[in-house]
Symmetry: C2
Subunit: 353 residues, 2 copies
Amino acid sequence: MPKKVRIALDAMGGDIGASVVIPGAAISLTRHPDSEFLLFGDSALIEKELANHPALKAVSKVIHTDVAVSMHDKPSQALRRGRKVSSMWLAIEAVKKGEADVAVSAGNTGALMAMARFCLRMLDGIERPGLAAIWPTTRGDSVVLDLGATIGGDANHLKTLAVMGSAMASALFDLARPTVGLLNIGVEEIKGGDEIRDAAELLRNANLPQLEFVGFVEGDGIGRGDADVIVTEGFSGNIALKAAEGTARQFAEYLRNAMARTWRSRIGYLFAKNAFKAVRDKVDPNKSNGAVFLGLRGIVVKSHGGTNADGFAYAVDVGYDMVRYDLLTKINQMLNRDGQALPASPAAQEAVS
Amino acid sequence: MPKKVRIALDAMGGDIGASVVIPGAAISLTRHPDSEFLLFGDSALIEKELANHPALKAVSKVIHTDVAVSMHDKPSQALRRGRKVSSMWLAIEAVKKGEADVAVSAGNTGALMAMARFCLRMLDGIERPGLAAIWPTTRGDSVVLDLGATIGGDANHLKTLAVMGSAMASALFDLARPTVGLLNIGVEEIKGGDEIRDAAELLRNANLPQLEFVGFVEGDGIGRGDADVIVTEGFSGNIALKAAEGTARQFAEYLRNAMARTWRSRIGYLFAKNAFKAVRDKVDPNKSNGAVFLGLRGIVVKSHGGTNADGFAYAVDVGYDMVRYDLLTKINQMLNRDGQALPASPAAQEAVS
């Protein structure tokens, strides 16, 4: 039996906090009994929830703090108020100190990123982090990044995202050379802004051994599984992800309403209940919860702030998988392979805006 | 009976051309018998298709040209080769000459936009066109723009899109003061790039009588119907639209497969067939086909290049509606109302890149 996976949780993160985080951790524990937890936050609230989950309680340690980062704090405010004392910071710091293998928070993205950069620092040669998630496609799963860690970015930034995303796909999907596409508004060479066309040229010319660049992919190519890794800057990545989630919810709602409308459809529903459930599960945005910050010297997973316990459990699962698949080692290997993946590395940028 | 709606079609546009365009027009004609058509393109191909659609033939005039714009022509190439002679140009020119009320093409977006700008010119005070479409939401329909006419753009560009989109929503949905949201990666004031935050301030301060600015909307807010009009620059708008379309197709495929898997689900399907059809129809990207170029001195509708006859018919329907709802007059009124909708107007830019 390998050693346990030690997961640090920001128990105060998200719209709801401990009453989602603790039951979520309990669900994930049933799937991965070899997990251990460090729970950071208001110990009274945490212990109250833990009382309902004895199995989780048995493998958890509670570390009390009064300070929680609010969902509306700007990154700079969060750092000023929450550095060294907030549940979010302490969870990340546990990773830095080697007391945990991964930190998971449903707290606000900007604050989480700022604290993670400040506390863990960036990997050599990486200037800005990326936020990556697993996107279910009709062909299997793909890795999509950046989902909002960084707005905009030049060709080198996109190339770095491509290398990091490939490392993640390679680790998770056991692929020697994942295919990588750049998200664009057309597949022709003339489409998109300069930075995208330059990134395409960089990736094509580099012909990296760790990834196979397949060119541009349009928005509908993500769900079709046109590439194992889809790369874009954070604004459009976030928009793509949320537009897809919104559509999935719309579809589920239409289906629910349609099935309840007539006696024929209600009978049909009874017969096909399991099939429906399978479809709903497949497109349930909750199941895709859990995005990974890439480029840091440690693993930090971001959960949706508005998720429920089931959704938070999936984010914890992602953290578990990243540790078990040894993502960080893999990224380091990918970045340094043949010493050619990244441009001559500028000094890692440590200031946080 | 009001006068007929005269529709100019680029019969050579799209991946397939006349064999989609002509049957598509025939379908639209059954829904709007008060349409007339000008069909531009290879007359032999057009006449062959028309032979199968006598009702359409009776209300159509065929204008022959050998020249067609290819789906892969750059805008500059298309203009050089196709200006004054291609089926795309001639369809647009028919609008300029007042021989048609609207032009519809499934040809390549860049070429169509370049030709439309060059031939029709921009409205006073508008520098760059927007491409707008109707997006089905759980609350009704919304107008979303820009879907790819222009990549990027400053706060004034976003404000102009907001005003034009509101005019379209107002005309189509009969709203006195449509709600308008700016697409962003969060609803907090600190989110997004400078241009988006500046646009929010512009729109908030202007407090325009023709629209109600509701702030930022996230990607999943589009399908939820968070605003009647969703405004973004063309890259992210295009990505959002296609990501949503891709997800809808994924869902439909999952559903089809799930319903065929077991005898129980097959029986269920038989009972609930109509309900399924209703759901599939609701999320069928074909039904949302047809995007409108806004900001031009004439109405031009862009159909997906890869659509089928049913899909092309919807694009023709959109063209018909824009004429019947008098979109152009409405936009002009909105732009000029109280003389405050737009900033001091720079000279309309006519050069096409």
